[in-house]
């Protein structure tokens, strides 16, 4: 591991200024950054600790009915907060199914969407062709081992999936990140922070030097919601596929459905066609099943992951059932 200098930012402005220096990265909980440094994925010369910045931690109700979550809030503190647990079960569940209790006590909700792909080629300590490690070096996974990789939106240049859970729920809730830099503050819809391989296979997200996520904002409560995470072991494991569903029901008729899938693409994947077709359908009806199928028309398997399409489809149906039960 390369030696680095360490500084503590005292304010958002201070952090933003420090982060504009070359070869500089911020550190929050450090649960990802330290792994990257050990493996050799990043070798920053300077690390700026942002955990001491005031006003970036905690959950507060917004006047319009939504909530605002400080980026430095620990995963467990978000999930267990009454405002989140009661109004956004899908989000609380997604967090509690992420990582382990110990990691959730350290990891921040702002750092979470910035975690990188789990593709074993990307995480190798040995030199390996991987466009996300060395731009232009190629993709070992596309013709290699990729049974957990993408079924939506991949290209020959990268077939990895974004592995985070909380952003999948946030995508279904139409949440936004509040991003601040020297030029000002902007709000970016949750799924738009991620970069698809068709845009740039070497990138993970749109954040540039000096971009600080300060908060997450979610709109109106979504109590009829659920998160389903499919994995071969029961805990402490990334999803093979996950599904976040938020429903607006009239009896058992769907007025509005918002559905995002996790671990199927380089960003949380909204099932737009499904959402449109579900309007006016009954929970459990054959029309609802057909609507879910419509969301998978553009799914494309790799040579060894077609099973993920089946699981994702069935997980979507199951998550709709779970959300409806929460009503």
């Amino acid at each position: 591991m390369r030696n680095f200098s360490y500084a503590q930012a005292t304010s958002r402005a201070d952090a933003i200024a420090l982060l504009q220096q070359p070869e500089t990265m911020s550190i929050a909980g450090g649960t990802e950054l330290l792994n990257w440094k050990r493996i050799g994925i990043v070798e920053p010369a300077r690390v700026v600790d942002i955990t001491g910045i005031p006003d970036m931690e905690g959950v507060e109700a917004l006047p319009n009915g939504g909530v605002r979550i400080g980026a430095l809030t620990k995963l467990n503190d978000v999930a267990q907060h009454a405002l989140i647990r009661d109004a956004y079960p899908v989000f609380s569940q997604a967090i509690l199914k992420a990582a382990s209790a110990q990691i959730r006590n350290l990891a921040t909700i702002g750092g979470n969407p910035l975690q990188r792909v789990r593709c074993a080629y990307f995480r190798a300590e040995e030199p390996t062709p991987c466009n996300k490690r060395v731009a232009g070096s190629g993709c070992s996974a596309v013709a290699g081992i990729h049974d957990k990789h993408a079924i939506f939106g991949w290209t020959e240049d990268c077939v990895a999936v974004h592995p985070a859970d909380p952003p999948v729920a946030l995508a279904a809730l139409d949440a936004a990140y509040v991003i601040e830099n020297a030029k000002g503050v902007r709000r970016v819809p949750v799924q738009d922070i991620h970069v698809m391989p068709s845009e740039n296979p070497a990138w993970h997200n749109i954040l540039g030097n000096g971009d600080l996520i300060t908060a997450i904002e979610i709109g109106a409560a979504a109590t009829t919601s659920a998160y389903l995470k499919i994995r071969e072991r029961e805990s402490f494991e990334y999803a093979t596929v996950s599904a976040a569903v938020a429903l607006d029901l009239d009896g058992d008729v769907i007025r509005r459905a918002r559905i995002a899938l996790g671990s199927v693409a380089m960003r949380p994947w909204r099932l737009n066609a499904t959402e449109q077709q579900l309007v006016g359908q009954r929970i459990g009806s054959s029309e609802a099943v057909a609507a879910v199928d419509a969301g998978f028309v553009d799914a494309r398997p790799l040579s060894s992951n077609a099973y993920k399409i089946t699981i994702a489809r069935n997980a979507t149906l199951r998550a709709i059932e779970l959300a409806a039960r929460a009503a």
Partner: protein, 730 residues
């Protein structure tokens, strides 16, 4: 009252939980250097050049050793045996590369951080050669010239005329089963601290067998054994990969020799994939023929496993088909697939582990073909004697274990396969668990002190299973002391040499020697009293004869001796055997599991399990039960998730960590793990009446799970692990 069998808590439990136990990597010596390996990134070829300039310029880096810098192997090394030396292919004796991950340079630095930075700064270039993917290599006959693994069991076996018998069988099932390579990944990686004083070498090492390390290090440098001292007070799990002696141990000692300073080497998790062994990928073809009543009339079993290029490691998965069931016609054949990989090794559970997966599945397929309950099918071919030798077993109470397990599990009244619980489909399955007994030569000394405490001394290493605890119970039983008055002094080659802590051989081997030593002490005490040995008893710190009683303190102080000692030895011709001559010994049992399968989501979960075992006498109900639970968890990992994938185009393990190689976690294991032992004393296995416990617990589990999956959803999975892709249905 006897303390044998009591659930005495492990004597090392507290220090393991509170973190004060000091493992090999926790030791430090003044002036020590930290070593970090640079390892080959290609699977085959030669090292062309190693540029150490950048590394040597880093602060704290003292030296980078490359091939020519290390002392050559002494001529004595030619006489060493593979095993217990894992492989004779010692890296950095030439520039040849036989597998990815092979050490090619050693960076030595004042701190671990500096050594790690140095290792990353070393630039190696290679002359690559075409490599052989072992998994794609054609199976070949075992070559007895390639190492000594082939001498550990039979590569071929033939009894009767299996082909003829197969043609006349009423029912035949035939299938191929596969399981992937799995790395043991003990919590504590291998670690060694080597230090020289003149021509004397001392190592703190994380191992399962100290004398083997001593002998091989001595041969490496041409020393007398006594010039090498191995200390291993605690080992943080081994599961076989610390059983034999691996090259990194020799390299650390060589580096310390060159540097004239102590050298500490702690393998990284990644190193654990390239520098120590693994359970190899095994493929098995099985044919079973039965008559119309379900009795086995013919069995053929062909096994092939991957191995390295230098030695033929053989995973003897054919053992179950020649030892589990009575059958007149059996043929077995072991083959190997050689390629550029680290040599595999005996990992929990060897031989019967892979073998019971295939045979336990095939028996279930046969039971379904015949239309019999799988227990009844097994009872129809119950092996009353060892099918290989025809000799009677030392003791076998498998019928009782079937009855006990089936009763506790409710096997005969289990829910119909596929019964729904919400979206879960319930399935039940069972299989045989069994492991052959191995005994190793072992010695122990027992000392009885004037203060009424006792001590036993042996190079034995307690890898956490609890031998130090149960041996205190044994000594306490013989000398009439409570176990907490008996202290274990272990883990040092300056003590009487013990056999290894693997193959579940410790209790039967070292325990037999211990029994002898403690008995010798007791007899000496009786003689000091002038009482005939046959008339005395030891109780509550006293020696008792009829109505007379004298405290140990009193007897020793009157005799003017500070302590009494006794030596014990289990002597075995050729070092190891399979039980008392004429009494083949084997532990038996059955595992019953209930699983839930959600075929829409591809999910498989364990709901409950019962294991019932015939293992001889239980010396400690707690440690024995823990061993069995651990084995079932280990088996669940094998069944449901564990696999190390060989990346075919890169020629290396795809993931060398615990992130992309999934192991079970607590949340996977239901509280309903039920363990039962048949009440048994094996009179033909030694004075303690014990056979073997821990290793067999991981046998049979994978088959029981696959059988339960079939019961639940009608899909027969013949390739482990049973992951979502194999279960999901539209």
């Amino acid at each position: 009252m006897s303390n044998l069998g009591e659930p005495v808590p492990r004597s090392d439990g507290k220090i393991k939980v509170n973190g004060s136990a000091r493992f090999a990597a926790d030791q430090s010596l003044p002036g020590q250097l930290h070593a970090v390996f640079v390892s080959s990134t290609i699977p085959a070829g030669r090292v062309a050049n190693i540029d150490t300039g950048l590394a040597l310029g880093l602060p704290g880096v003292v030296r980078v050793l490359v091939a020519g810098d290390l002392p050559p192997l002494h001529a004595d090394f030619n006489e060493t045996m593979v095993p217990p030396l894992a492989t004779k292919s010692i890296p950095m004796q030439s520039d040849e590369i036989l597998h990815e991950g092979q050490p090619i340079a050693i960076v030595l630095a004042e701190t671990l951080e500096a050594a790690e930075a140095g290792a990353r700064a070393v630039r190696a270039t290679y002359a690559p050669a075409p490599y052989i993917n072992p998994e794609a290599a054609a199976p070949d006959a075992v070559d007895p010239e390639r190492g000594g693994y082939s001498y550990l069991d039979a590569s071929e076996f033939l009894k009767g005329d299996p082909e003829a018998a197969m043609t006349s069988a009423a029912h035949v099932v035939q299938a191929e089963y596969a399981q992937p390579t799995r790395h043991a990944n003990p919590m504590e990686p291998s670690a060694i601290l080597a230090s020289w004083s003149g021509d004397n070498l001392t190592v703190y090492d994380s191992v399962q067998h100290l004398p083997a390390v001593q002998a091989n290090l001595a041969a490496t440098f041409g020393l007398e054994r006594a010039a090498v001292r191995v200390i291993s007070p605690h080992t943080g799990g081994g599961f076989g990969v610390k059983g034999y002696v691996w090259p990194h141990e020799l390299l650390a000692a060589m580096a310390a020799r060159v540097m004239r300073r102590p050298v500490k080497l702690v393998l990284t998790r990644r190193d654990m994939y390239g520098m120590v062994g693994t359970q190899p990928r095994v493929t098995q073809e099985i044919r079973l023929g039965a008559d119309s009543t379900g009795k086995l009339v013919s069995m053929t079993h062909v096994v092939s496993n991957v191995t390295g290029l230098t030695e033929d490691y053989i995973e003897f998965a054919t053992v179950p088909s020649r030892s589990f069931y009575a059958c007149d016609n059996i043929s077995n054949l072991q083959l190997v697939r050689r390629g550029n990989m680290t040599l595999p090794t005996y990992m929990r559970s060897p031989a019967e582990g892979p073998g019971s997966w295939a045979l336990g599945s095939a028996m279930d397929e046969l039971a379904r073909a015949v239309g019999m309950d799988p227990i009844d099918l097994r009872l129809a071919s119950y092996a009353e004697v060892d099918p290989v030798s025809g000799d009677p077993w030392s003791s076998k109470k498998l019928r009782e274990a079937y009855a006990l397990g089936s009763e506790r599990f409710g096997w005969r009244s289990r829910p119909a396969g596929g019964t729904l619980d919400g979206h879960w489909r319930i399935g039940c399955g069972m299989a045989d668990c069994s492991q052959g007994v191995t005994r190793f030569g072992s010695t122990v000394r027992v000392l009885l002190k004037a203060d009424g405490t006792a001590r036993f001394e042996s190079s034995l290493c307690d890898v956490g299973q609890g031998p130090a605890t149960i041996f205190a119970q044994v000594v306490g039983e013989i000398l009439g002391l409570s176990p907490d008055r008996v202290h274990a002094v272990t883990g040092d080659t300056n003590l009487p040499p013990a056999g290894p802590t693997y193959g579940s051989a410790t209790t039967i081997s070292t325990g037999t020697a211990l029994h002898q030593a403690a008995t010798a002490v007791r007899d000496r005490l009786a003689r000091l009293c002038g009482w005939p040995v046959a008339e005395i008893a030891m109780r509550g710190g006293s020696i008792v004869r009829g109505t007379e009683s004298r405290t140990i303190e009193a007897v020793l102080s009157e005799a003017g001796v500070s302590e009494l000692s006794g030596d014990g030895a289990l002597e075995i011709e050729n070092y190891a055997d399979a039980g008392l001559p004429g009494f083949p010994a084997r532990s038996f049992g059955a595992i019953f599991v209930e699983v839930g399968v959600d075929p829409e989501l591809g999910l498989l979960r364990l709901r409950r399990a019962t294991g019932a075992y015939s293992v001889g006498r239980i010396l400690n109900a707690r440690t024995a039960r823990s061993q069995m639970i651990g084995g079932i968890v280990w088996g669940w990992g094998q069944a449901a998730m564990e696999a190390s994938h060989f990346e075919p185009s890169l020629g290396r393990w795809h993931a060398k960590d615990l992130a992309n190689v999934v192991l079970p976690v607590n949340a996977d294991i239901p509280p309903e793990i039920d363990i039962a032992f048949v009440d048994e004393f094996d009179p033909n296995a030694g004075p303690l009446g014990v056979r073997s416990v821990g290793t067999m617990a991981a046998t049979g589990v994978a088959a029981a799970v696959a059988n339960a999956v079939y019961d639940a959803i009608g899909i027969r999975v013949r390739e482990l692990p049973i992951t979502p892709d194999k279960l999901v249905q539209g």
